[in-house]
């Protein structure tokens, strides 16, 4: 399995690059999403990634390409809904999960960008690394970690000794986080 070729383009040329790829035959829009790279050393922001396929290359061996651009935090990207109407759901999902706006978004309803999957009234952009999983601070892991251990009495959030600072995954609140 070969690695999918990836084309990095500047944000300003995003629409032009997608149009060009479509002109080359990559006419099937597979998916679009983002990657949080706000902690990158240089040019921090969000990687906007779009996966395209060439539907005329025959069954089982569709040629594919990844389009990628870097969107600085707070900026919006040009919408791909003018090229593929099906991009609307993906852009709405990227909007609600990462908080990236899309200029010129049009899904035919005139309602603009709005949440797609999150429950009504949800605040925040949960797939950003800065999004804190509040449940970790408010509710202890409800089970036992090993078979045979008793479940924590009323929940024991931090049983291990406070040692050196552990490297935790993004979104995991540290001990000082949350209401005391």
């Amino acid at each position: 399995m070969n690695e999918t070729p990836c084309r990095d383009v500047p944000l300003a040329e995003w629409t032009a690059a997608l149009t060009a790829a479509r002109g080359e035959g990559f006419d099937f829009f597979d998916w679009l999403t983002a990657v949080d790279e706000t902690d990158a050393e240089e040019n921090p922001g969000f990687d906007l990634v779009c996966h395209l396929m060439n539907s005329s290359t025959g069954r089982g061996s569709l040629a594919r390409v990844l389009m990628r651009t870097r969107v600085p935090n707070g900026q919006s990207a040009p919408s791909a809904t003018g090229l593929w109407s099906g991009a609307a759901w993906h852009e709405r999902e990227t909007y609600e999960m990462f908080g990236i706006g899309f200029e010129g978004f049009d899904d035919g309803t005139g309602l603009g960008l709005r949440p797609l999957l999150l429950p009504n009234g949800f605040e925040g952009t949960p797939l950003r690394k800065s999004f804190v999983l509040a449940a970790r601070a408010s509710k202890a892991w409800p089970g036992s970690k090993e078979p045979g251990e008793g479940a924590g009495e009323g929940g024991q959030p931090h049983t291990e000794k406070p040692g050196r600072r552990k490297i935790t995954a993004p979104g995991v609140p540290d001990i000082t986080w949350g209401p005391r």
Binding site: L117, L118, F122, G124, L133, A135, K139, V172
Partner: protein
Amino acid sequence: MRVELPMPRVGPVNDDAPRPIKVVLNWGRRYSLWVFNFGLACCAIEFIAASMARHDFIRLGVIPFAPGPRQADLMVVSGTVSDKMAPAIRRLYDQMPEPKYVISFGSCANSGGPYWDSYCVTKGVDQLIPVDVYVPGCPPRPEALLQGIIRLQEKIASETLSTKSIRAKYAGSRRAAAGEVTRPLLVKPEVTGRETGGELS
């Protein structure tokens, strides 16, 4: 159109029946549980396995499957409950006639399970609806569900079913009676704007 229904009653026969009659009535109820499968994830597969020939919970009197919540006595919530799904679960629970029972099947429905810290997963279905029996496991084996059903039947057998006790049981959790959770008949949507892409039939 809203249907006005009175508060549910079990009738004077059940209210004032002598104890042997109540035992017989409870015996009848515990072995004819129409089950409504709220399958949301992989636990639903184990639930379906429990309903099929090998494990066969019909021999315990659990009848698969009620056509909808309005015909069901027992709801088995099997799978990961997300916050987006929560209103639907509450609504279908409200549509069930009383007395009604809920089995929470699997870790996700019990407490959120492996997704307990997720931004979108409800930390246990008991935050939405009252649960009678919890079946632990990820996913639990079909035998575990059979054990849970037997526990529920023991619970039903020891109940005293009267109008007063039913009202007391659902006093804290009743948001709406089944007759209130209705919506008007569906009508064909009007096609507006945009190209319709062929005839809609």
